[in-house]
């Protein structure tokens, strides 16, 4: 057991909550699409992110905007 405790977090599942997963992905996606050739509507993206995060927060006890 002592050997195990000294090891790094090798079974790091990174069980992040869904909100963290989503916001991380949305931020990366925004940065990517802003600099891509495809059409990108930042306002639509932000609104979609806000909607999802509100739902996720709602799932965690928050309010849906």
């Amino acid at each position: 057991m002592a050997e195990q405790e000294s090891q790094p977090q090798e079974h790091d599942f990174r069980v992040r909550n869904a909100l963290g997963i989503f916001t991380d992905y949305a931020d990366r996606e925004r940065a990517r699409r802003e600099n891509a050739d495809e059409y990108f509507d930042p306002a639509l993206h932000d609104e979609a992110v806000a909607l999802v995060t509100s739902w996720l927060r709602h799932d965690e006890g928050g309010d849906v905007a």
Partner: protein
């Protein structure tokens, strides 16, 4: 969550159950033959946590009460993800009534009361719900408990995808709802468009009506002004027509005895009246300026012309009168008061001089007369009566005064002297008489002059008052001057231009002609007046017509305004609907974008989870599969593929044996439980319960697995393993032995 103690009364198989002082970090063995109550222990834990078990639904919990008892009770103490210990107490009675209470261990203050509130708070404190409990915490080999899928839901939950998928499903449902709403919006817009078409609204109609109304108002105003002007014209013409009629009578009344002033007043009035009439008569649009008035007044103008001619003759006569007046003025200037005053002054001077002369001469007379009388008397007495006493006395007096006096030689001197004085007195007397005569002559001339001036003044005044005289009287006045030239001019006047004024027949002819002409003019003016009345009627009719049209337009405008209002309202509603539709479309796009992001996030979360799972499994799986399988992956649909060391490739779930499936499944569930503990336990230890995990294991595999279990994860600290028996109990920290037929189980962990 770590279970610290469990107590139950009259529940499931146990009348009394007490597991006290359970170690937080331990491998715990539960053994016993079939139906000895091993699974009942786990059910009791599940009942304490969630108010149900995998055999007892919340609505039939009464079946969990020990047969013959009226109620059961369970109490469990656990360490939550906050690191603190909590106590759950639940009761169930035979009527199905439940109670639940959650407190901090050691305190009576309820954190939650009632099954629902306690359940919600327990899920929060332990970090998993009932489903996750039976998927990840309580791992049973029995197919009745778990789903056929290897913890798909748990993997989904642990990886975070589950919530993302839930939201995506929700958004998908919303998109469907919103699309249905779009359809309704479109239908409503179609209906609205139909209403708009039926309204047949023309945006130009109201401006046109208002424009026409404005024009009608202007025309009505114009016709009203015109009517008012015609009324004024009619009133003026009526007034002047009355004047004309009166003038007609006035002309008829003129006679030879009429004073010149009346003739002149009538003449002037005729000109004035005709001019006023000409001014007031309306212009004929087709005629030149003044032409129509000239036509109407033609007859009267003829009378005026004849009258003008006659009056010109009279004016010539009056010019003579003026000339005579000027002459009289001149004469008056010569013999007038001023001249008279001068003459009077001269006369008075002459009188004064004559008076003075007369006085001086009178004085001389009276100075000379007495001495002359005395001298002549003395001479007479001395010469003719020298003896008289008087003569003697006189001689004595003289002798006394004049001693040289000698009577004889000096007495004639008395006569001479007396005579001289008498001559001087006589001369003075006649001179005095002459001065008086001069004064009287002056006075007479003055009187004559004054009389002549008075006559001239009277003549002048008569001439000046010619207006009050008739023409014959005026002629008589002039003729009285008895001037030959004037008389000749007067004779010419009588026979020519003045015949009207002195000849009765000529006057009668003029009367007849002028009266006829004036009558014709009156008729013409009346005809014109009638035309004016017709114009007035026309304008009033126009005004009424326009007013009527204005009223009609008023109604039409009100109706059109209502249509405009309705159209605006429809437009507003349409704009609102279009806005709603656009907003709904926007919401759909937002949700589609959100779904896209969610799918991407899920995909990446799953990739992340796979990577983490692969790391975990690469360490655990070889221990549980004799090093034959190293890791597995879950695809996005959560299907499992396992990497086989023997085949050096991924193989499908169905391609491996049942025993190996169970080994891999155990490894996978351990991995998921560890992951769940990572996320849910808040860094605290986690309990895991493995019910008959080694059913397909041989003795070596069991021994290897039991040795491997405590090392799987530092989060899985309290591991319960259920089996009928274990060949070697040494790996276990605590042993709970269940006996068939015993309903009392008491274990102290210490």
């Amino acid at each position: 969550m770590i279970i610290r103690s469990l107590k139950a009364t009259n529940l499931l198989k146990y009348r009394t159950l007490a597991l006290n002082d359970l170690p937080a970090k331990a491998l715990i063995a539960i053994t016993g033959v079939n139906e000895s109550g091993k699974t009942g222990l786990v059910e009791t834990i599940c009942l304490a946590l969630f108010g149900r078990t995998f055999y007892l639904e919340p609505d039939n919990l009464t079946k969990g009460i020990l047969w013959g008892e009226t109620h059961g009770e369970v109490e469990m103490v656990f360490t939550g993800n906050t690191g603190r210990d909590y106590r759950i107490t639940r009761t169930i009675d035979s009527e199905g009534r439940q109670s639940a209470r959650l407190t901090t261990d050691g305190s009576d203050d309820a954190l939650a009361k009632g099954p629902s509130a306690v359940l919600a708070r327990v899920v929060e404190l332990v970090g998993f719900d009932y489903r996750e409990f039976i998927e990840s915490i309580y791992l049973a080999q029995k197919g009745t408990v778990t789903s056929s899928h290897p913890s798909a839901a748990t993997a989904s939950a642990v990886s975070g995808v589950q919530k993302l998928n839930q939201v995506e499903r929700t958004l998908g449902e919303e998109i469907l709802t919103l699309k249905a709403a779009i359809g309704e919006h479109e239908q409503q817009l179609d209906e609205l468009q139909g209403q708009y078409r039926r309204l047949a609204f023309d945006p130009n109609q109201l401006p046109n009506l208002e424009q026409e109304q404005e024009a009608s108002r202007a025309l009505a105003s114009e016709s009203a002004d015109a009517a008012r002007e015609w009324e004024e014209v009619i009133a003026e013409i009526n007034q002047h027509l009355g004047s004309l009629h009166a003038l007609r009578g006035q002309l008829a009344a003129l006679s030879g005895e009429s004073p010149v002033g009346e003739w002149r007043v009538a003449h002037s009035a005729l000109a004035t009246t005709l001019d006023q009439l000409a001014e007031s008569l309306p212009e004929d649009e087709e005629s030149a300026e003044g032409e129509s008035a000239a036509r109407v007044l033609e007859s009267a103008r003829a009378t005026q012309a004849e009258f003008d001619q006659r009056m010109a003759g009279l004016d010539a006569l009056l010019a003579l009168v003026d000339a005579q007046g000027a002459e009289a003025d001149a004469a008056l200037a010569d013999e007038g008061e001023a001249a008279l005053a001068v003459q009077m002054a001269e006369l008075q001077a002459e009188q004064r001089r004559a008076g003075a002369s007369r006085g001086r001469r009178g004085l001389l007379f009276w100075l000379c007369l007495p001495p002359a009388a005395l001298l002549l008397g003395a001479w007479y007495l001395i010469a003719h009566l020298p003896q008289s006493a008087t003569a003697v006395s006189l001689i004595e007096i003289i002798g006394a005064r004049f001693p040289q006096w000698q009577s004889v030689s000096h007495t004639p001197w008395l006569l001479y002297t007396g005579g001289a004085l008498a001559v001087v007195a006589l001369f003075a007397f006649f001179a005095m008489l002459g001065a008086g005569s001069t004064r009287g002559g002056a006075e007479r001339r003055l009187a004559a002059l004054q009389g002549e001036a008075a006559d001239m003044q009277a003549y002048r005044e008569r001439l000046q008052g010619f207006a009050a005289l008739s023409v014959p009287q005026l002629l008589d006045t002039l003729e009285a001057r008895q001037q030959a030239a004037l008389s000749a001019q007067l004779a010419t006047f009588r026979e020519g231009a003045g015949a009207l004024f002195v000849d009765v027949e000529a006057l009668a002819a003029w009367h007849a002609q002028s009266d006829q002409q004036m009558g014709l003019t009156e008729d013409a003016v009346r005809a014109e007046l009638e035309a004016c009345h017709q114009e007035l009627t026309t304008q009033q009719g126009e005004h009424d017509r326009y007013q009527s049209r204005i009223g009609e337009l008023e109604g039409a405008i009100l109706r059109e305004q209502e249509r405009v209002r309705q159209a605006q309202e429809l437009n507003l509603v349409r704009a609102d609907m279009e806005a709603n539709r656009d907003q709904t479309q926007r919401q759909i796009r937002v949700r589609e974008e959100a779904s896209l992001l969610l799918r991407g996030a899920s995909r990446q979360a799953m990739e992340q989870f796979n990577r983490d799972l692969k790391i975990f499994m690469s360490r655990v799986m070889p221990q549980l599969t004799e090093d034959r399988y190293h890791y597995l992956i879950l695809d996005p649909s959560l299907d499992v593929e396992v990497f086989s060391r023997d085949k050096h490739d991924f193989i499908g779930w169905d391609e491996i044996s049942t025993g190996t499936q169970q080994q891999i499944l155990l490894a996978l569930r351990l991995a998921l439980s560890a992951a769940l503990a990572e996320g849910a336990a808040g860094g605290q230890g986690q309990t895991i319960m493995l019910d008959e995990p080694f059913a397909f294991y041989d003795a070596k595999r069991i021994a290897d697995a039991l040795n491997a279990l405590p090392k799987v994860s530092e989060r899985l600290t309290q591991i319960w393993v259920i089996s009928q028996e274990f060949a070697d109990m040494r790996p276990f920290d605590l042993h709970i032995d269940c006996q068939r037929g015993q309903d009392v189980l008491v274990v102290n962990g210490g």
